[in-house]
């Protein structure tokens, strides 16, 4: 099957991959929104959405569990967004107004292509990462494209041509620029460590995971433990970059009605949120790859050793099958991503929203100096360690 796929013309392969991305990201982002509602509800000791069920599902065993999990509510909401009237206020700049949500989709869908989401063992026992585009610039591509996301917010805020969306857009640009710096600086030590001086370097995320899969104490440890400060700064900046509480400046429901999306409704509005959740997923994935060891189950237990151990324990060669190893690795990776997303939601209901000036102060006066100091310290450390 794989041969058949790789035998197809490049164009068809690309389209198939693109469709796969869209078909994957859309439902997952939507599912995240439902997860968000459910997690919010449970933290607040509510049941959350639990009533929707199509009439023809009533009585089917198991359907009531889906009902209580709000799965049908999710479908109903999606359907609603499709069939709702598209309001287009009179005073907006129509072209940019319509354009903005689509621009929001671009980074969301593009970044996912360079994110490896699993690995399989080839017949030689080599771990091959699974990703749509294994490019060497990996993390750079992600940063570069993800930062385009802010354009959609600015555009939406500006095109709405009314004050709250405008304020939301301005805040979004300021916030995203502020935190992008610390974010980038915080991950530099990781790549400094990964790419030993003299060797052929790569900014691919798969390489970072590969590094965390080495044997030995320093080799198998995750960067979360070796670079906790980097991880913390990256996480905080990630919150800001994805406009999540406590940094939801662009939206600011309390003071800006709905921020940049005040004038939006129906499908266009939902696109913004699909993009936000897609960003969250990609962000979580990157965090998992960089600091949580990617598809390795535990620190000092890389995927290949895990599979060999399983093979030895059960005596079954099945574990070494590329398909099984691939599915297992994806499962491990997705579990880490999901936990990170849950962490996003968990924080949302724990930490109150910052004031705008506090956001700026934290970004420039705390995170930036910290990340620079962090970079300098690790650079020196790595020099002595590897030097």
């Amino acid at each position: 099957m794989a041969n058949f796929f790789f035998g197809l013309p490049l164009m068809v392969q690309g389209i198939a991959k693109g469709l796969a991305v869209i078909l994957f990201i859309f439902p997952v982002a939507a599912a995240c929104s439902m997860a968000e509602r459910k997690v919010s509800a449970w933290i607040q000791r509510r049941p959350g959405p639990n009533r929707t069920i199509p009439p023809f599902f009533v009585g089917i065993p198991g359907a009531s569990i889906l009902q209580r999990l709000g799965i049908f509510q999710l479908a109903a909401d999606g359907g609603k967004f499709f069939f709702k009237e598209e309001p287009l206020p009179n005073h907006v700049h129509k072209f940019y107004f319509i354009l903005a949500p689509f621009i929001a989709m671009i980074p969301a869908f593009t970044t996912v292509t360079v994110v490896p989401f699993g690995a399989y063992l080839d017949p030689e026992g080599k771990v091959i990462p699974i990703m749509l585009a294994n490019v060497d610039i990996g993390i750079l591509a992600i940063f570069a494209v993800a930062s385009l996301g802010v354009y959609s917010l600015i555009l939406a805020g500006w095109a709405s041509n009314s004050k709250y969306p405008f304020l939301g857009g301005v805040r979004a640009s300021a916030q995203l620029i502020s935190y992008e710096l610390s974010m980038t600086l915080s991950v530099l030590p990781v790549f400094l460590w990964v790419n030993e001086p003299g060797s052929s370097g790569s900014l691919s995320l798969a390489r970072v995971v590969e590094f965390q899969s080495h044997a030995g104490f320093w080799g198998g440890t995750w960067f979360l433990f070796t670079m906790p400060l980097s991880a913390a700064i990256f996480m905080i900046a990630l919150f800001a970059e994805t406009n999540r509480q406590p940094f939801d400046m662009p939206e600011s429901e309390a003071d800006l009605v709905g921020g940049f999306h005040t004038e939006y409704g129906a499908f266009k509005w939902s696109l913004f949120f699909v993009a936000e959740y897609a960003n969250m997923i990609v962000g979580s994935a990157v965090f998992a790859l960089l600091f949580l060891g990617g598809w390795n189950l535990l620190p000092w237990l890389p995927l290949s050793s895990l599979l060999e151990d399983l093979h030895r324990l059960t005596g079954s060669a099945l574990w070494l099958n590329p398909l099984v190893s691939g599915v297992l690795s994806i499962a491990i990776f997705v579990a880490k991503v999901l936990f990170t997303i849950f962490f996003f939601m968990w924080v949302r209901w724990t930490v109150p929203r910052f004031r705008y000036d506090q956001v700026m102060r934290i970004g420039w006066k705390v995170l930036l100096p910290l990340s620079i100091a962090n970079l300098v310290a690790y650079t020196v450390g790595i020099y002595f360690l590897q030097g």
């Binding site: 607040q44 049941p47 924080v347 724990t350």
Partner: protein
């Protein structure tokens, strides 16, 4: 009165980093995450209505099924949002309630205006208008939100009477007070 200046306690370094607080908060929220839900599943489960609850105003009958309202219009007078409108009328002679003589011909409460203050119940000399347990009202138009007399009696039903004012009157007529 002397003003006492309360000095704000200076924050410790740990507090200023904000991290212990966030971690404490995360622990708290995750604790609640695992607790059972407190939500009342409304249409299936009904809340317990406390005594003295002020629901939809209704008209009630006495245990003999006689309408208590004598259309004195005090509720109409006292109603702050002017939601009550009464058209008084007389009771036909020989209807078995001769001592009452008067009853509302029409009694309308506009539930779009009603603010559930309960002043009508408070002022009613006959204990005929009572804010009962009914708390949900809906309709497809404004006209449906006006409760007419028959609907008010349907909502109100019969309440036990503490005084039996008119029965006492009847007893007096046949007893010592009668005009022999």
């Amino acid at each position: 009165m002397a003003v006492i200046q309360v000095q704000r306690k200076p924050l410790s370094l740990a507090e200023r980093t904000y991290i212990p607080q966030v971690i404490g908060g995360l622990l708290t929220t995750i604790k609640y995450f695992f607790r059972p839900s407190e939500t009342l599943q409304y249409p299936e489960q009904r809340p317990a209505i406390p005594p003295g609850y002020r629901g939809v105003p209704t008209l009630v009958m006495d245990p003999h099924g006689r309408e208590k309202c004598v259309s004195c219009q005090l509720c109409e007078f006292v109603c702050p949002p002017k939601a009550i409108r009464i058209t008084p009328g007389s009771v036909a002679q020989g209807a078995g309630v001769d001592h009452v003589e008067k009853a509302p011909q029409a009694f309308d409460i506009d539930m779009l205006r009603c603010i559930y203050c309960g002043l009508c119940e408070e002022v009613c000399p006959e204990e005929a208008i009572v804010l009962q347990n009914q708390f949900s009202m809906s309709g497809y138009g404004r006209s449906e939100m006006v409760n007419h007399k028959d609907r008010l009696y349907e909502l109100g039903g019969t309440l036990p009477d503490k005084h039996f004012k008119w029965d006492k009157k009847k007893a007096a007529e046949t007893g010592a007070g009668g005009h022999h």
